[in-house]
């Protein structure tokens, strides 16, 4: 059996909310010189937030571990702690060997410097020695495919060239442990294939890799072990397929409960290719029509689609009134959305007026709704996958 290369015990990370973190000088002076020298402030307006709580794990040499979880589950914080960027609040991690982190490609690139100079600069920032960089220089240039622009300042590069060069430098890092956070969403298709191939080589070469991604396909192909992080704790660790399955199952439901008002509960989840939205209501009088309207927004709040029953010409209505208390179930069939987090703005009312209106009240994480290969992000190609038929002659 291979050796343990990473061992984490009781790792927690506490963030203070309410203040931006760096107190003002005035605040510190108010607290006295002691806190100024201690380098921290403790004001009453702070709220504790545990980004990570009691994380324990062991990773053996050569394991490729995929870390999955929703946005805000603590994935990036865990990687930051592991790669020594930020200190844990409690606990201890033992690493056997050098750790290199690819939390973002192109860190430290300077626009005024040429491609050649940036390879050396970025390489040393990532922890390579000049000798190492010189040895790999040709390989890096080859991989990036920008040989003819090597002596041009990178500010004149297209964004594709920039990213290719940046990834090429990072991909040639040699360390026992490699930490990667979603670098695959870069470049054109051909280059993405190259990146995936390179990652595969790294994974197969016996190096230990920690990989965070929302791309379940990539996680499943590259990794053999998985962690499922939820609210700062590891909910499950085990074989990657089991971890991904549990994650997919759990992340499809989002619910909000209201203590008072006309609406008592809103629930939404992904059911295969469909989105289900359920709303429980409890009104003061009987209703002419339980009128539920929705708008589905992207994560920036831009509307993607929306409807209410009044907009449907052939709506069948009950004769008389609807009871005070009841449920509306809405099935949005096959909206064909790309992976990502979406939010619902909900409106609820009668024909005569509205009882409830809330923007972005529930969110839903869509995962693998269609069977297309998701090569680009929604910001690049839009949110909805069209029904297409390509004919070649």
């Amino acid at each position: 059996m291979s050796e343990t290369i990473i061992k984490a015990e009781n790792i927690s990370k506490l963030y203070k909310l309410g203040v931006a973190g760096s107190g003002s000088l005035y605040q510190s002076l108010g607290m006295g010189l002691k806190s100024l020298l201690k380098g921290r402030t403790n004001s009453a307006s702070q709220k504790d937030f545990w980004a990570l709580k009691d994380i324990n794990f062991e990773i053996k040499e050569g394991e490729v571990v995929g870390i999955v979880g929703r946005n805000g589950a603590g994935k990036s914080t865990l990687l930051k702690v592991m790669s020594r960027i930020t200190k844990p609040s409690t606990g201890k991690i033992e690493l056997m060997g050098r750790i290199a982190s690819l939390l973002e490609v192109g860190t430290g690139f300077h626009p005024e410097l040429t491609g050649r100079e940036n390879i050396f600069l970025n390489g040393s920032i990532l922890g390579m020695s000049r000798v190492e960089i010189r040895q790999k220089f040709d390989e890096i240039v080859d991989f990036s495919g920008i040989a003819e622009f090597l002596d041009t300042p990178v500010k004149r590069y297209s964004s594709g060239m920039y990213v290719r060069l940046a990834f090429a430098v990072a991909a040639h890092l040699e360390s026992e442990i490699l930490v990667i956070d979603e670098v695959l969403a870069v470049g054109d298709m051909e280059f993405q294939k190259k990146c995936l191939g390179k990652m595969n080589n790294v994974a197969k070469s016996g190096r230990t890799v920690l990989f965070v991604s929302h791309n379940m396909g990539a996680v499943k192909t590259l990794c053999n072990k998985g962690f499922y992080l939820k609210n700062g704790t590891i909910l499950m660790q085990g074989h990657i397929d089991d971890v991904v399955d549990l994650y997919l199952e759990q992340s499809r439901v989002s619910e909000k409960i209201y203590e008072s008002g006309a609406v008592s509960k809103i629930l939404t989840y992904q059911d295969g290719a469909n989105i289900i939205l359920e709303l429980d209501y409890n009104c003061e009088q009987e209703l002419k029509l339980p009128n539920l309207g929705f708008v589905l927004n992207d994560r920036d709040g831009n509307p993607i689609m929306g409807l209410n029953p009044m907009m449907q010409p052939n709506l069948t209505e009950k004769k008389g009134l609807y009871p005070k208390k009841g449920k509306v179930r809405l099935n949005i069939s096959s909206p064909k959305l790309l992976d990502g987090v979406y939010t619902f703005s909900i409106w609820f009312g009668d024909k005569s007026g509205n009882f409830f209106w809330e923007n972005d009240c529930v969110s839903i994480e869509i995962i693998a709704m269609t069977d297309i290969i998701q090569m680009y992000r929604p910001a690049q190609v839009g949110y909805v996958v069209p029904d297409c038929n390509f004919e070649f002659s």
Binding site: R84, K87, E94, E117, L121, I125, G127
Partner: protein, 277 residues
Amino acid sequence: MKKIIIEPRSNPFKINFSELYSYRELLSALAYRDLRVRYAQTFIGFLWAFMNPIFSLLILTFVFGIVAKVNLSPGYNGQEIPHLLYTIVGLAGWTYFSEVFAQAGSSIISAQQMVQKIYFPRLVIPLSKAITGLVDLAVNFILITILLIIFGYKPSPNIVFLPLFITIAVLSGLAAGIWMSALTIRYRDFQYITPMLLRIGMFITPISYPSAAVPEQYRMFFYLNPITGIVEGLRWCILGGEALNPYTYISFVIIIILLLLGVLYFNKVEKIMPDII
């Protein structure tokens, strides 16, 4: 294989010099970047490095030498010291310090993307500014040499002590840079305090006037400004003249203490740096 242990809090007095040394290539890469980028796309390019000190030299000499007519005591071998020469030597010590002070102060804020994405000893960032500043110091020494030749001034034999005083100047730059970078990241107020301090420092440092012009009762406070000692020391090395005021050595002690405390404070802030940027 190297074993790394990550723990919440390590001893603030423990400074990992061997790690810092292993990042020396990053240090030179960052310094190179700063120099390379500094005059990019300017018409006269590196000549700008001479423009700034020349204009400071002219304006200071005009104010103190021509308008205020400050009296200078004779230098080595009783030679009369031309005011331009007197000022440029003072300026050399001041420019290096003030450059590092200003550049290092904002250095970590401008490198925040790096700090949040990659681990390396953060001390490398302000240290690289202390290296970049050496170029400005060299420019000043070129100007000094030119003026020595033009005025036919014979340098004092004290010049053998020059390396010592340059070392102290570098230490002062380091001390200031380390303090300012840690303070600025912790309290952004220092972004506004820094230029203010520099403006004050420019006048309370005897760049273009002798400290003898300062009344005796203020002299003690005057030497609390660590740059005073450096400026006077450099002048004594190159131009000679009266022996150094014993207060000068207080400046040097202050610099060493500030440097040590600065490294400790930086070490302290370094741990929370990515969280408070």
